[in-house]
């Protein structure tokens, strides 16, 4: 964490410190409990779960629920497992994250180093777009995707996520580049460096931290999106929609262990990203977008 622990601690008594630790540990339990419950129950046979021992470790350890969730569970009407939807999500998330991040970096560069009359208004217009309730665009988006022939396809979802993602990526890069000394850019201009040269040689090499933030943010948001996937996914539904179909299916026995394995599968990519790079994300987020 960039924010090193400071000497903010107030002198407190022993009892107060015990209380503080107790509260912190209780909340840690609260946050961990659902993950623990999902984890242990995803490797139990179904009889053990319906018996009601959700907190106990499995008596018989089995990976069958994972195998079922991945490749054979009934999703909607097809017994395909979650695998094809996982692939859909990957095919959607990779280009959408890459495109929106590149556009955001260029926009942030223009908005801070090549300022012109009215640039703040343009930025404000883009920024407001991040916060609209997406219900307001669902109907026209469905029509436009249909007209473009992109309805129910992965490219259609990529388009939707890029369009509604560039506001955030632009915000991140703009705030980050704003702190970068403009004199360096001016000096490069005087030396004859062009628009893209300056971006490539001067801005990009210092953009690592904010790129981590932008990529994690976009990856998490797009991977976790449900509304657009459910509305425009068609035959290319992403993982979240498939998981919901799996869990909500009303036919047959509810295979809770399979549901949990599926839920963990759906959560795994973002959890891994978070575990690997979460520290940088929080650090960058605090430095960049959220004033506080």
């Amino acid at each position: 964490m960039a924010v090193a622990s400071q000497d903010n601690a107030v002198q407190t008594g022993r009892a107060a410190r015990v209380f503080v630790y107790l509260v912190l540990l209780l909340f840690a339990l609260f946050y961990l409990l659902p993950l623990y419950v999902m984890g242990v129950n995803s490797v139990k046979p179904l009889e053990e779960i319906t018996g009601g021992r959700m907190m106990s470790l499995p008596e018989t350890f089995t990976l069958a629920p994972w195998a079922s969730a991945w490749s054979t569970a009934q999703i909607g009407v097809e017994p395909t497992g979650l695998r094809p939807y996982f692939i859909n999500s990957l095919l959607m998330v990779v280009p959408a994250v890459a495109i929106s991040t590149v556009i955001g970096a260029l926009n942030g560069y223009v908005l801070t180093k090549w300022r012109f009359r009215g640039d703040t208004i343009i930025f404000a217009l883009m920024l407001f777009g991040c916060f609209i309730p997406f219900q307001i665009v669902l109907i026209p988006m469905a029509l436009v995707l249909g007209k473009l022939g992109l309805a129910g396809s992965v490219p259609g979802l990529v388009l939707v996520h890029v369009v509604y993602g560039i506001g955030f990526t632009t915000l991140y890069y703009r705030n980050y580049y704003a702190a970068f000394p403009t004199e360096l850019v001016r000096a490069a201009m005087i030396d004859g460096a062009g628009f893209f040269q300056i971006f490539w040689r001067i801005m990009l090499p210092v953009s690592g931290p904010i790129t981590v933030v932008s990529v994690i943010w976009q990856f998490t948001n797009i991977w976790n999106d449900f509304l657009f996937g459910a509305s425009f996914g068609g035959t290319s539904q992403p993982m979240t929609v498939a998981l919901n179909n799996l869990v909500q299916s009303s036919t047959g026995v509810k295979e809770y262990n399979v549901h949990f394995a599926g839920a963990i599968l759906a959560a795994l990519p973002t959890l891994i990203v978070y575990v690997v790079a979460g520290r940088y994300f929080v650090r960058g987020l605090m430095a960049g977008s959220v004033k506080g």
């Binding site: 107030v10 419950v37 959700m54 026209p140």
Partner: protein, 297 residues
């Protein structure tokens, strides 16, 4: 002088190139955000049902909307949900941030534990909590097996209480993030201020109440704005946790809009509910963004 002409051309190219780079984003924003908003607003004044139609009916849809019991259920629910969600997340976030700031051993372990739920989708969160709260197999059943026979926790099946289960799951997901915002704020406070206050005799609770919390005001504002817009947009969590039920007890404006537009073929009414949602968010976001951008200039 061809060299001079070339320089001149280059200078002018440098002048429009930045605008050209920004132009596609602006065009896309104008079309897909503002154009679409306008389109939905227009639809909300038409008699569209399954497909858009352009027969203008004035404010009929809005009148119908506010005469619908479902819509009032959704409004009542969003009021309960938003108030509790914002209030509890802020309270938990603040307490955890202040406690974590007391030179806690193991802070590096606790912080990611508080934060990881934010990486999960609401569908995953909903799946986990739905099961945990299910009286037949979850918490209630476990308590019975552990010998607490009279334990009862049936909120998720109870149409009066089900909305509170959504609050629980949503708070679980977001409160750690709010903690991080406050923690960053706390770590940014100048130590000299705190030392001076301590020398003046302020300590413990009073120090926080009188000095620290007022300094954190920008963090409170950011947290409020983020939580508010998340609350209005809440959709996935309801779908995964209760499906809007039992009955229609946990319907929110977002689920209302979706079902009226795409399931019940009442596109005009669906559009008008989306317009109301947008106006609610705009009422908070526009002044906030205006103040932020003006300040930064």
């Amino acid at each position: 002088m061809s060299a001079a002409a070339r320089t001149d051309w280059r200078t002018r190219a440098q002048d429009w190139l930045p605008k050209l780079v920004l132009a596609p984003s602006l065009a896309v924003t104008l079309l897909f955000v503002y154009g679409f908003i306008l389109f939905t607003v227009v639809l909300s004044f038409t008699g569209s049902r399954m497909l858009p139609r352009y027969d203008f009916v004035g404010f009929t849809n809005y009148a119908k909307l506010f005469a619908l019991e479902h819509w009032w259920t959704a409004i009542g629910n969003i009021a309960i949900f938003a108030t509790l969600y914002i209030g509890i997340c802020t309270a938990i976030g603040l307490v955890l941030a202040i406690f974590l700031d007391q030179k806690i051993r193991g802070e590096g372990v606790l912080r990611p534990i508080y934060l990881y739920p934010m990486a999960l989708s609401f569908i995953v969160t909903g799946t986990a909590w739905k099961w945990f709260l299910d009286p037949g197999i979850g918490l209630e059943r476990t308590m019975h097996l552990w010998g607490w026979e009279s334990f009862s926790f049936t909120w998720i099946k109870d149409s009066e209480m089900a909305i509170y289960t959504i609050v629980i799951a949503a708070v679980w997901q977001t409160s750690g993030f709010v903690m991080a915002m406050f923690l960053a704020g706390l770590r940014g406070i100048d130590n000299e201020i705190l030392k001076a206050a301590q020398i003046d005799g302020a300590s413990g609770f009073a120090l926080y109440r009188r000095i620290v919390i007022p300094i954190l005001r920008p963090a409170f504002l950011s947290a409020f704005v983020i939580l508010f817009h998340l609350a209005i947009k809440s959709y996935d969590l309801v779908i995964a946790l209760t499906g809007g039920g039992p009955g229609r007890a946990t319907e929110l404006p977002a689920t209302f809009m979706y079902s009226y537009t795409f399931t019940r073929n009442q596109m005009g009414i669906g559009a008008s509910s989306a317009v109301i949602m947008l106006m609610t968010i705009a009422a908070i976001m526009v002044p906030y963004l205006y103040a932020e951008l003006k300040e930064r200039r």
